[in-house]
């Protein structure tokens, strides 16, 4: 039997096995090892383009299949069987593989549900919280100033990417230009300097161009890692702020980035 194989269609050896079981209409509780093994081998043969990393996983599974197949051909010795580790097998060499396949299948199905939820969530939109800083006194700012971790910031970035897509066709598009992270790090620093060392996270992303947004974000992460800047949030309801931590950084900055 010959057919086309799409490597990217499989999420690993277990996914491939489930596919074969489905296609060959095999009972998952009574897998015909000879048939599935030969089909599996045929597939991985056709999937030679695999990354080395993944290939090893497919090959380990191939070895497992062969070993199960050969075990099933052997006559069962009752005594040996008793001495086996219970975790591995009690009576059927296929048991472990079957339970792995069933466990994996559960999550594959769950992933499918998530995909459906993702699609229906794309049908409605929210908006960012309003900027209420005009209502806030300096005293309150000091009292409620709380740092946030990188995950909060990543979340904020993700939200921002969704937000920044809005309005795009109604504005003149930013012409595409290649900027490096290094350059953008300098830009962020000088933008921060110009605004007195503190700026709203979102104000660092005035551009609508996705590439620029991504580069700016990466440069921001780099600056945080190098402790040039710090991210803060006043409270639950407020915006993220980026603070400049090192004042006269130009020489150090150039040195560090250029290395």
């Amino acid at each position: 039997m010959s057919y086309e194989v799409k490597t990217e269609a499989f999420e690993g050896p277990l996914d491939l096995l489930l596919h074969l079981i489905n296609r060959l209409e095999i009972d998952i509780y009574d897998i015909k090892m000879a048939e599935i093994t030969s089909q599996y081998m045929e597939h991985i043969h056709a999937m030679r383009v695999l990354e080395l990393n993944e290939a090893s996983e497919y090959l380990v599974m191939a070895a497992t299949l062969l070993s199960i197949k050969s075990k099933m051909l052997l006559p069962i010795h009752q005594d040996e069987e008793m001495e086996d580790d219970f975790d591995v097998q009690v009576n059927d060499p296929r048991d472990e593989l079957v339970s792995r396949l069933i466990e994996y299948r559960k999550f594959k199905e769950a992933a499918h549900h998530l995909n459906e939820m993702e699609e229906s969530r794309h049908l409605y939109y929210t908006r960012p919280p309003a900027d209420l800083s005009g209502f806030q006194s300096n005293q309150q700012l000091a009292l409620f100033e709380l740092d946030v971790n990188v995950y909060d910031m990543l979340g904020a970035f993700q939200k921002m990417l969704r937000r920044k897509q809005l309005n795009a066709p109604l504005h003149t598009r930013v012409s595409k230009q290649d900027i490096s992270i290094k350059t953008q790090m300098r830009n962020v620093i000088s933008t921060l300097k110009k605004s007195g060392g503190k700026l709203s996270f979102y104000e660092l992303f005035p551009s609508m161009d996705k590439m620029t947004i991504v580069i700016t974000f990466l440069s921001l992460l780099e600056l945080i890692k190098r402790q040039f800047v710090q991210v803060e949030q006043k409270s639950n309801f407020d915006e993220l702020f980026v603070l400049l931590r090192k004042e006269d950084i130009d020489s150090e900055f150039d040195y560090e980035i250029d290395e």
Binding site: Y29, E57, N91, I102, A111, E118, Y125, G155
Partner: protein, 197 residues
Amino acid sequence: MNLTMKLMSKVESLLFVSGDDGLTNKQLAFLTDTTEEEIDGILRKMIQTYKEREDRGLEIKQLAGTFQFVTKEENVLCIQKLVENPTTQSLSQASLEVLAIIAYKQPITRVEIEDIRGVKSERPISTLSAKGLVREVGRAEGTGRAILYGTTNEFLQYFGLQDLSTLPPLPEDVSTDEMEDTDLFMTKFQEAFDPNE
């Protein structure tokens, strides 16, 4: 009656300014100087009114534990006209699988995720944490103290969930239970007759 209207007006203002942070009924009661019971009644009424009225483009939804305004689904097309790339980038199959495992098994280590999938999962995990959908929630006991992953609030927002309990139940396979029962039986059987014990 007049008071109810005024309360609705306040709730509308508050939900509007809080955006996708949203507010809980407790917070709304506190901010409008009223009781949670009253707020619950008001919210029920508002949720229904918004849904029914054809001239309203907003709805109130409970997302990630808070009440928030969202646009009506029927208006998705004209909102997408505002959007640069109408086909919103969806998560890859690999990311969805990893996310499903983390969502149902959290807290969980990378190795445990890879055991279930049978394939390396470093890349989807870092994609997911870059998207703010999963995060490190602690360290496993024992040597190595591997990172434990869990889902975030953004995960709930992204999939339109109220909280983790509103995730659809993990598909269970009845036959797995049967198998386990057999295993248990065999184990018991062997324990009873194993001469070494």
